[in-house]
Symmetry: C2
Subunit: 339 residues, 2 copies
Amino acid sequence: MYDINKRSTSKNITIGDIAKELNLSKTTISRAISGKGRVSAETRRKVHEYIKLHNYRPNVIARGLAQSKTYNIGVILPADANLVEIPFFQSCLMGVCESAAGLDYDVVVTTVTDDDITLLKRLINNQKVDGVVLTRSMVNDLSAKYLKEVGIPFVLIGSSEDEEIIQIDSDHTTGCCELTNILLKSGTERIALLVGNQNIVVNRSRYEGFRKAFQDLGQYTDSDLVFLDLNNIVLIQQAVNAILDKNVECIICADDFICSRVLAHLEEKQIKVPDMMKVASFYNSSLLETHNPPITAIKINGKELGITAGKKLIGIISGEESSHKSLVNYEIVLKKSTS
Amino acid sequence: MYDINKRSTSKNITIGDIAKELNLSKTTISRAISGKGRVSAETRRKVHEYIKLHNYRPNVIARGLAQSKTYNIGVILPADANLVEIPFFQSCLMGVCESAAGLDYDVVVTTVTDDDITLLKRLINNQKVDGVVLTRSMVNDLSAKYLKEVGIPFVLIGSSEDEEIIQIDSDHTTGCCELTNILLKSGTERIALLVGNQNIVVNRSRYEGFRKAFQDLGQYTDSDLVFLDLNNIVLIQQAVNAILDKNVECIICADDFICSRVLAHLEEKQIKVPDMMKVASFYNSSLLETHNPPITAIKINGKELGITAGKKLIGIISGEESSHKSLVNYEIVLKKSTS
DNA sequence: GTGAAAGCGCTAACAG
DNA sequence: CTGTTAGCGCTTTCAC
């Protein structure tokens, strides 16, 4: 006998409905579902059967309100024009989504710039997330500072000197050191380095790795061959031009964006890679895969970083302890551009 | 006189707290905040003053529960490997984020593949969003079908034959037609077309535009010069090889991914662009901006599409009527690769 | 104009 | 093992 009067218009079924149908209390249903507390095997079976049959899905919002949780985590992407082009952040995002979905969390995204974190504040103020993944580390990071202040759990994909911050990163310094080292040992001596914004921590790390490679061999870096803060195309081109006068054998670019511009400029100047100039990059994205010849680069696994970050953050939210730093492997891929 | 005992640990202030402080009822506070219902100007002033002073932020979750709304919208990204590389989806996402934030909504992202929409179902079942933006249209689209079934508001960035679906798109057919037309009229007669997966609606539209350009001039497309379903690099290379035997003057690629592979392959074969072969693409992303010579392409504004989609969707959620199709302008950018 | 009370759907003491 | 009773913070009738 059906109760025709009730919600033929499929209003969502609730825990209360189940309780009524099964002649139990809401509490018992809740317990049977969550697994917390003792419920007889028989009751549990009945409840689960009913749930499956009627395709019941608990209302996450209501659960959230009762527990002061949202079961959402935020992913903060840099909104800077340049960076939208770099697929790295998209990979991170995909990674976080993947681990979050597995743990029954959802991912809310928003953007910040290096000097405007309004949207992050909005997200936090609206209490839409239980924690946050930062995908870029600035030397003086407003986002991290803010999140520490308000005391929201967060993890950083990247590195920071602040040991209180949970960090997930690949070891860019060592990576760059290794790559530079390989080049030096293979007889390439005059190597130039082109790096972007020095307010971005990872750019500093790369520079550091570069220097370290020389140090390890008891040499010094020629400061004439290091170009920092290359924030736009013009600066990159100027750097390349400067390099061409200096008998340089190889250009190392600190990211794919710089590298692609360098390659375009070299081609314009009819400088053949690798015959007249070797080129390597500190990333490895589709931007360069296309290229002919293929470009030697350090392969950073954005997705894996995202997965790890997501897992860690949700762990922390759930009250687990966490080491302050996790490393994700990188890979040095030697290609024709440096051979 | 402070109530020391209470929440020195800054538990979030609620509407009830304000009511108590101001000797009013929760109802009145609620009304003063939402603007719904009558409240004396004086009361409203006092409430707003208090809010500003104590930096009160309403709990969106609680409001949501009371209104059966989440103030979240979902953005569904394709998880296919190939496509992660295409910045288009990232731009869309950024666009949606921008318009959503402006309307006090947040954006939850998740992914689907063409034959697996589990994660979309999860998102809907968990009642985490009030509506959804689809960023890609398949010929037989599981996501759209599912969303129609469950009756959740959604919009599609892309096109569909189903007129019940709200669509936001650029007119790819006309765009491709125009581009092809320009080439034909400039004396380039033997043009080849390389297109990807024909289950993706936009690829069909492009193909159609290509054909239409010939028709408009009373010509036919040479079916020997049309290559469909180029889903991997090997197929693309085979297509290019086939083309090289056929006295072709220009290759049009239906997207930047295909185009970048074509360029790489041509370079390998020492075929100079544009001297020995002209090349054009139906997109314009960073993948090609780098290239030398610069590549003629149709510029699709992913961000604008995202912004429009977000606005539309939130409009619909708020009960507004909506036209079933909105167009966002594209732009044909002629560069050296076809000159 | 303002307020009391019920309720959104679920969880969490506290009893038995 | 199960039920009762309060909430979570806000909106929404329905009165006054």
